[in-house]
Symmetry: C2
Subunit: 559 residues, 2 copies
């Protein structure tokens, strides 16, 4: 009897289940369920209370719907019995958190709280806790706290503590009533196994926990707000589990919810980016994975812990036990090209693409792919959505330089692609300077699989070989790998994530190799990018911040 595991992957707008053959990693089939409530950023369901700016909430019922619908669906499509499922892995966007009672009931499910915004899930991209993040940073700085060095020196408004602080400030009753403030990934595992087993990956990256030092001190939390003195004990948990641990086994109610067999092992939850590494055969240092979508997330490992300015996080055992895992990010990649195609491509290009039966991205690529690096005379700074790594500054904005009356749209398009590649190189060089060498690149995500010109540019700009995931759903596959580890060899899985990766992960045959002539040309362009990056990004000319201030002033004047 063939054995399978399930990877349950929760994204920003939908969740999916994928059925994976444990022996060889074949993705037999998958099912996607869109969240009925999507992202709630204006109103709560059935309510006329207007949500505050920068709010981004979700409904936990939508997550349960994925379990109820997608899992039975893949069993049916795959023609597989529930007994053949030997393990389940879950990954989730993060930091996506919700307030729950001690038995895991979301406060928003309770009649008395259903009209209270703070009773709902705060999605990772909920940015309304900036005031709290600023306060956190101030307290950290005043106290000379060292834990923040693991996070590039700054707390993000996206993470657990500012989000909890916002609840306390704006709706204290919710803060007091909640018995756990839990990552949605951990909550899903809790729904399956009936127990709260918090993930090391989520606690490490988003809740300033570390294996060595635990959470910040009570004194620190008291300085944030005296009411938060016992925040860790009261709202978080101190027992933290590795992602390679088996969190527990499917309860009766979990089995009923999913249609799977009671007792099926469930892995500790994982973050959607980090979970993907073993799915592209990365289980050791020196290899950086780029997960390329609307934005790009970079994850890699090292044998040592280094604090690298501007880099988002370093977590011991964060991906594979025994190694320190690092993450960095670029805020605008696919979004960048989509913006360009939507706003800046002339009519006749659309007509030409239509007549050739290709999309506009392909047409632009076709028109410009044979240019040599530097042939357009253009250079751009890829800050259309601010800069995540290594400048961590949301107020930075995009630049295009070198335009002439001969400049063509496809040349601008390529300059934007090159800019994101230069941004990646800045990150790589920061890691290497910081003591984390990177020898090879790996890429996953739709853009990486579709855009050959782009991947070749990345290889030439970084002077590194790039291997591409053969899975189109690397995070879901990764979750299935962790599910196989939760099962262990005793049940037909694997005892280590390395072994699971060896058997269940695959890469495309095609490897992008740097072209030495292009590498030299891009070296020259990268120096120019770096000069502009430092000039505009490191305080020499704060024009972008001043323009934002002028803009905000103009917006207010119009109100």
């Amino acid at each position: 009897m063939k054995k399978y595991t399930l990877g349950i992957d929760y994204g920003t707008l939908s969740g999916r289940a994928v059925l994976v053959d444990v022996e060889n990693g074949e993705e037999v089939c998958f099912s996607v369920v869109e969240y009925k409530h999507g992202i709630m950023d204006t109103y709560l369901p059935g309510s006329k209370v207007r949500l505050a700016p920068e709010t981004a909430l979700q409904h936990p019922g939508d997550y349960l719907e994925v379990l109820k619908t997608a899992i039975p669906e893949v069993l049916k499509i795959g023609g597989v019995s529930k007994e053949q499922i030997i393990g389940i892995g879950v990954d989730f966007t993060s930091c996506t958190v919700l307030p729950v009672s001690s038995d895991g009931t979301p406060l928003c499910f309770m009649e008395e709280f259903k009209d209270r915004p703070h009773a709902y899930v705060k999605l990772w991209k909920h940015h309304a806790a900036q005031y709290e993040a600023d306060k956190f940073n101030e307290v950290t700085f005043m106290r000379g706290e060292k834990f923040i060095d693991r996070y590039g020196g700054r707390m993000s408004s996206e993470w657990v503590v500012p989000k909890a602080m916002q609840i306390l400030h704006e709706d204290e009753e919710i803060y007091q009533v909640m018995e756990s403030f839990i990552e949605a990934g951990d909550w899903i595992v809790m729904m399956l196994i009936g127990e709260e087993k918090r993930s090391l990956c989520q606690a490490g990256y988003k809740a300033v926990w570390s294996k060595k030092d635990g959470y910040p001190s009570k004194e620190f939390f008291a300085d944030l707000d005296p009411k938060m003195t016992n925040f860790v004990e009261e709202k978080l948990r101190t027992d933290i589990y590795a992602t390679t641990d088996c969190a527990g086994h499917l309860t009766k109610s979990g089995a009923k919810l999913t249609g799977l067999a009671e007792g099926t092992p469930v892995a500790v939850a994982n973050i959607d980016a980090h979970v993907a590494l073993p799915a592209v055969r990365i289980t050791e240092p020196g290899k950086m994975l780029m997960i390329m979508g609307t934005s790009t997330c970079h994850i890699m490992m090292s044998e040592e812990e280094h604090f690298i300015p501007g880099v988002g996080g370093v977590v011991e055992d964060g991906v594979v036990p025994g190694y320190y895992a690092y993450e960095a990010g670029q805020a605008c990649v696919g979004d960048h090209f989509d913006w360009f195609v939507k706003n800046c491509v002339p009519k006749d290009y659309y007509e030409e693409a239509a007549s050739k039966g290709i999309d506009v991205h392909q047409l632009l690529e076709e028109k410009v792919k044979n240019q040599l690096p530097g042939e357009s005379g253009l250079i751009a700074l890829d800050w259309w959505n601010g800069n995540r790594s290594i400048l961590t500054d949301a107020d930075l904005t995009g630049v295009l330089l070198g335009a002439t009356l001969q400049t063509k749209p496809e040349e601008i398009y390529r300059a934007l692609i090159e800019a994101t590649a230069f941004g990646t190189r800045i990150i790589i060089e920061a890691f290497e300077k910081g003591g984390v060498p990177i020898n090879e690149l790996y890429a996953a995500g739709g853009i990486a699989q579709k855009n050959e010109m782009m991947m070749q540019i990345y290889a030439d700009v970084t002077n590194k070989e790039i291997s591409i995931s053969s899975s189109k759903q690397a995070p879901a596959l990764g979750a299935a790998l962790f599910g196989a580890v939760a099962a262990g060899t005793a049940r037909g899985g694997y005892d280590t994530i390395e072994a699971a990766s060896e058997h269940m992960s695959r890469l495309q045959d095609k490897v992008y190799k740097p072209n030495s002539d292009y590498v030299k040309r891009y070296d020259m362009l990268f120096r120019e990018y770096e000069i502009l990056h430092n000039y505009f990004g490191k305080g020499e000319n704060d024009v972008m911040k001043r323009l934002k201030a002028i803009k905000n002033n103009a917006m207010r004047a119009k109100e």
Copy 2:
């Protein structure tokens, strides 16, 4: 019997004649003749000899065609007899020069030279004499020549001497055979009156002649090339005439050519930009005219001579006798917006414009005109075609800064317009710092008349009132004014250009007045423009030049 003058205006692609009522300046009618040979930049007519890069030639026969066709045409349309024409004025693009024999026959009309590129007219935008301009600048610098201060410190490859040097270097026989190297405007006057009467305006701006010092010395020319020692005496002329002078009277052959009466007074030739001042009522200092088309030319007067770095020229009596006239320029204005509309406006904007029955420029204006200054967060450097004043650097390129994923095409369009306005303010401030105050602005040209948002932006950015020419052909009208001065009161014209301007020029009723709130907002944005202008334009970061070098290297590698 009503009296009229004719303004004959030679542009880059066509020439026109306009019939003007001397009493009130009414433009009765006009006729335009396109140049049959246009701009010759690849082949000579009927020849297979490929022209060198940057070459831009014209055929003098095309200019005669304007006289032959357009003049009889306006007499006919206007229902006016040749006796009613009391004077003729001519203006021409400059420096547009041709080699001729002593009787004015263009060398290219001679059978033996008709296949020789250097026998033809070199149009103002012929840029193939850069090597010679560099040499000229080197010699000027080594000799410590002061005359160059009148021209902002640099010789342009567009002007007379480099163009003559190029002929000497590349086709010495043509250089030796030519008995005059003459501005096309002066040549047309010669065709009409049978004598060579060189214009002060053209000699002053383009042939480094000044009323005070004449031409540079023989020693200077000898240092350029020993064969050019007597260049002034042999190829130019030392008797120079004010543009308010009557050059002479129509000869029998001139009368035959034009269908006008023998003896009709003809004014000394003028440059197409400078001639327009009296046509918009400017005959005194403190008023700057912007002639806005594909590029913008700025002309103004002062009672004093000042040397202003980066400003194209100061010529005593250059427009109105008694004053020093100054010129400056921006290389890319209308071209800029056309580039944008052609390359960067998405399909649905074209469809929306079509459905509203307006053009895309109008649609963009409609979408963005109600924004406050700074509301887009964008700023641009208007260097898509290099920078003429005050940086005089063709290697500078365009910049757009401040883009986000929310940036709309109309916001970029407006940022480009604002950038040209900031560029104008840089010029105005350079004049004012240099001792040439500017109190009011005047604008002529299609863009000035059509684009209200743009003119209001210029008023707000410069904090000056802007009056607009009511003529759609201000240079042609200006030429007609000078024709009326050539006639003098004795024949029913005027004795001074001031008097002609008072009676024959008109402005639109609408004056653009600065909005004080917008002025303050633009002041903030202008400071940012200035910082970027100086950073990229004055050697602090020569990234644009390095990108051009990288680009040229790439182009060569592909050959």
